[in-house]
């Protein structure tokens, strides 16, 4: 490079000026805020991994309750029991379980001062069910035939068929018709500027950074003590732990290995929430190996669930024998399967799967070998998949572990096994029916293993339609019994969700949590009831 010019210095200055100009144009959206740094126990800053796409209940935000900005007709308490929220009492169920009548509170206003009425309830449910509304969870409400307002304070749901767990669905947040009814439901302003009846109002949502909320002074349940709540969006686990350690966050969700590093901290408390969040291997019925009942049963007893809980989850979890956690009232006692490689070997021998060279069994020229996918980047599922493959190998079955994105996995789900996850604690129907009902085979992510069992189908329908709890329990016991005879999935673990929180508050609790950990789960499920420590 041997060119030189006399105006180089000038041009560098010009460049700098242009860049400075660009910087000055960046237009900070100055935002007036009176929050301040906050006194002891009156502000809470929480680190979460995922940012919501929308804050509109019409598009699915907060559909399982605890949305902070909104309330549902009902809510769940710490023991997952339903209690009235916007409704005055639990619903009256008539007409053989097809009519649900809710009496509404008359002292509730939205945070903009407008009163809450039955029309808002009807608007919310009808909008979600509208085919033009892009709500992926609308299937939750598929039982609903119509929803009607009787006056200002009564709402009547009519169902197409008796659906016992329907009341569990009505924790769904209610949106105000006078605000949310304006503009495009799919992309309108309500998605980012929500108005609700909940304990908090949204102050600011800086996408990619954080959401800030302040206590709703007019909240019908009383003004929360924690008057300012911030949800910081920090996708990376390590960064979240670092910011928690630096005092920037008051609490965060963390994987067990990072949570462990806070064990010695005197000013931090660790909470492990029990969950319905399971990890399971699908055994596709259409695969010649995994479709064989002997193989399925053998795998089911050949996996060392206890070791997975101890080693992969560091003790933070439970062995799983089905979607229903072993400590749930719906769990069928006696369906636990102990780790028994001898039994597995015997089942396979009896069915004609003989060990060949290299230890992998064969039957009629078919090698006992199948592919097991896990979603790439998910470390916990990868570890589960490898542990499963190791256990299977010991009884002569080969699971070839491969990773892929869901785009790669989905077309192969009918043929290949997948390390799946899921779980919804509110009612056994929410997990069992979509996972096992034969007619749902291959529909989206429903019944991924294409499980087909007429006895299970019958029991599933009995379970969802019967209004009698003892009858329901019998039906779901039957389903879980059938899973021991013919497992369509090998359930491995239910994993705890771990939270580390500063020791500034007293009596923090967690609910039984679902697979997703959104804003509503975690110790902050009832942040509006937190009490400062001093």
């Amino acid at each position: 490079m041997s060119v030189r010019g006399i105006r180089a210095a000038v041009s560098v200055t010009a460049t700098a000026a242009v860049l400075a100009g660009a910087a000055a144009c960046s237009n900070p959206d100055a935002d007036d805020d009176s929050g301040g740094s906050g006194g002891n126990g009156t502000t809470a800053v929480i680190g979460v991994a995922n940012e919501p796409d929308t804050l509109s209940p019409l598009l699915g935000y907060g559909k399982d309750g605890n949305s902070k900005l909104f309330d549902g007709l009902l809510a769940r308490d710490g023991d997952m029991e339903l209690k009235p929220a916007l409704a005055r009492a639990l619903p009256e169920i008539t007409d053989g379980g097809t009519t649900y009548t809710y009496e509404l509170r008359d002292d509730v206003t939205f945070s903009d001062g407008e009163p809450f009425t039955a029309a808002d309830v009807v608007f919310t449910y009808e909008t979600i069910l509208d085919p033009g509304t892009n709500n992926a969870s609308k299937g939750d409400l598929e039982a609903v035939e119509s929803v009607e307002a009787k006056g200002d304070d009564t709402v009547v749901f009519t169902l197409e068929y008796p659906y016992a767990p329907f009341a569990e669905r009505t924790v769904l947040p209610i949106a105000p018709e006078h605000v949310a009814g304006k503009g495009d439901v799919n992309t309108g302003a309500f998605n980012t500027e929500p108005i609700g009846t909940g304990p908090y109002v949204l102050d600011n949502w800086r996408k990619g950074e954080k959401l800030t909320f302040s206590a709703n002074p007019g909240y019908w349940g009383g003004k929360p003590k924690v008057r300012k709540l911030t949800m910081a969006i920090i996708a990376d686990d390590d960064i979240r732990a670092t910011r928690l350690r630096s005092g920037d966050l008051d609490g965060a969700i963390l994987p067990p290995n990072l949570a462990k590093t806070f064990a010695e901290d005197d000013d931090k408390q660790t909470l492990a929430a029990t969950t319905a969040d399971h990890r399971a291997v699908t055994l596709p019925t259409d695969n010649p190996v995994t479709g064989d009942v002997a193989i399925r049963r053998a795998l089911d007893v050949a996996v060392d669930r206890g070791a997975m809980v101890d080693k992969l989850l560091e003790g933070r979890g439970k062995a799983a024998y089905g979607p229903v956690p072993t400590d749930s009232e719906w769990f069928a006692k006696g369906t636990e399967r102990p780790y028994d490689t001898e039994l597995a070997g015997k089942i396979l021998d009896d069915a004609g799967w003989r060990a060949e060279d290299g230890g992998i069994r064969e039957k009629d020229g078919q090698r006992a070998s199948f592919t097991l996918y896990y979603p790439s980047g998910d470390k916990l599922r990868q570890e589960h998949a490898l542990a499963f493959a190791g256990d299977a190998k010991k009884v002569g079955i080969e699971a070839r572990v491969e990773s892929g994105t869901w785009e790669v996995i989905e077309p192969r789900m009918g043929e290949d096994a997948v390390l799946a996850g899921g779980g919804s604690p509110a009612d056994p129907d929410f997990d069992l029916y979509p996972m096992l009902y034969s007619e749902l085979a291959g529909q989206g992510f429903n019944n991924m293993a294409s499980y087909e069992n007429p006895d299970v189908d019958t029991a599933l329908v009995e379970g969802r339609e019967s209004g009698d709890k003892a009858e329901r329990k019998r039906a779901y016991d039957k389903v879980q019994q059938e899973l021991t005879e013919n497992p369509g999935y090998v359930f491995l673990t239910h994993i705890d969700h771990i939270y580390v929180v500063a020791d500034t508050w007293r009596g923090l609790t967690t609910q039984v949590e679902p697979h997703e950990h959104g804003f509503g789960s975690g110790p902050w499920w009832n942040v509006e009831s937190w009490q400062p420590a001093s």
Binding site: M1, S2, V3, R4, I6, R7, A8, A9, S11, V12, A14, T15, A16, L19, A22, A23, S26, N27, P28, D31, D33, S37, T43, V45, E51, D53, S56, G60, K63, P131, G132, N134, A136, S137, K138, G139, E142, D184, N186, T187, D203, R206, K207, G208, E209, K210, A232, D236, I239, T242, R243, S246, D248, E407, G422, F430, L440, Q443, N446, H515
Partner: protein, 321 residues
């Protein structure tokens, strides 16, 4: 000069058209399913019927040429369309975030250029000397260091060990108020990391350029006339040594944009990066197209700028070249 700028701008139109067409084609050919992406975790439990309704409503089955043409005709009337992944109009998505990305990039770029030039010139002064060897080897090492890793390291050092700077966000986590002081304090760490990831190229280019100039006859002449070393270095060598840097400015713009993408994730910076990744994996055509146009425009402008500066700095270079 004006003619060159005008011609480049005219030339930009077909380039932008081709790029957006390419984006639609590639996105349509990608394995990502917009319906599944839209549904998110809800998609795992969604009923088949709900997914079909979504597919229909999002127009996910339309051929990409149709979608591109619809998008283009709307854009001409000033309507950037609706972002499906953000549930917001595209103009809002971009408007809310781009300022912060521009701020981050501008600060980082300015720091990289100024400090890079300084270090490069100092290293060139005594090639093979201790400073030169140190600067050069660090620069080569930094060239290979991923910005994500640098970011983690910086957070660990400055936020955790030294407790000197905030670890992320635009303002203190507990407050919403956007003041100059707050933003200045918070931009420092991410911008420095981004600057450090860009700096090696400037250091090495300047070192080479200035070093070459120092060996040239006019500089040797100036030295032999007994001019002060400082005058020789700054007055003669640096000026000519800077010319390649001007070219570099244009070509670094794409790298700067991808670097910002990673830095914003590490530091929870509320810029456009997260939206860009989301738009791509969600096959959110309108948002993706708008962002691609912006990025392409930034690159074209960067090139135009460096050519103009080059022309200004060196009279022998014509504006038609």
């Amino acid at each position: 000069m004006a003619r060159m700028a005008g011609r480049r701008l005219l030339y930009a139109v077909p380039v932008l058209l081709a790029v957006t067409f390419g984006v639609f084609a590639i996105a349509a050919a990608s394995p990502f399913d917009p319906v599944k992406a839209y549904a998110g975790t809800a998609g795992f439990s969604a009923s088949g019927e709900a997914l079909d309704q979504l597919r229909d409503s999002l127009g996910a089955d339309d051929p990409f040429v149709t979608r591109w043409w619809d998008w283009l005709s709307a854009v001409v009337t000033g309507d950037l369309g609706q972002s499906t992944s953000m549930r917001q109009p595209v103009a809002d998505v971009i408007g809310e975030r781009i300022g912060w990305t521009v701020l981050l990039c501008a600060v980082a770029f300015a720091v990289a250029i100024v400090v890079g030039t300084l270090l490069g010139a100092l290293a060139a002064r005594r090639r093979g000397g201790l400073l030169d060897r140190a600067v050069t080897s660090v620069a080569y090492a930094m060239e290979a260091a991923p910005p994500f890793w640098l970011g983690l390291l910086a957070v660990w050092l400055f936020a955790l060990q030294l407790d000197a700077l905030p670890a992320g966000g635009l303002t203190d986590t507990g407050t919403d108020a956007v003041t100059f002081g707050q933003v200045a304090e918070h931009v420092l760490l991410p911008a420095s990391v981004l600057a450090v990831s860009q700096m090696p190229w400037f250091v090495l280019y300047v070192r080479q350029g200035v070093g070459d100039a120092l060996d040239e006859d006019p500089v040797r002449g100036a030295r032999s006339r007994g001019l002060a070393e400082r005058t020789v270095l700054l007055g003669h060598a640096l000026r000519s040594g800077l010319l390649p840097v001007l070219t570099l400015i244009g070509t670094r713009v794409p790298e700067l944009i991808t670097g910002a993408l990673l830095i914003e994730t590490v530091f929870s910076w509320p810029g456009i990066a997260a939206a860009t990744v989301e738009a791509a994996t969600s096959v959110d055509f309108p948002l993706l197209a708008a962002l691609t146009v912006l990025a392409t425009a930034a690159v074209l402008l960067g090139n135009l700028l460096s050519d103009l500066l080059y022309g200004l700095a060196d009279p022998r270079v014509g504006f038609d070249g």
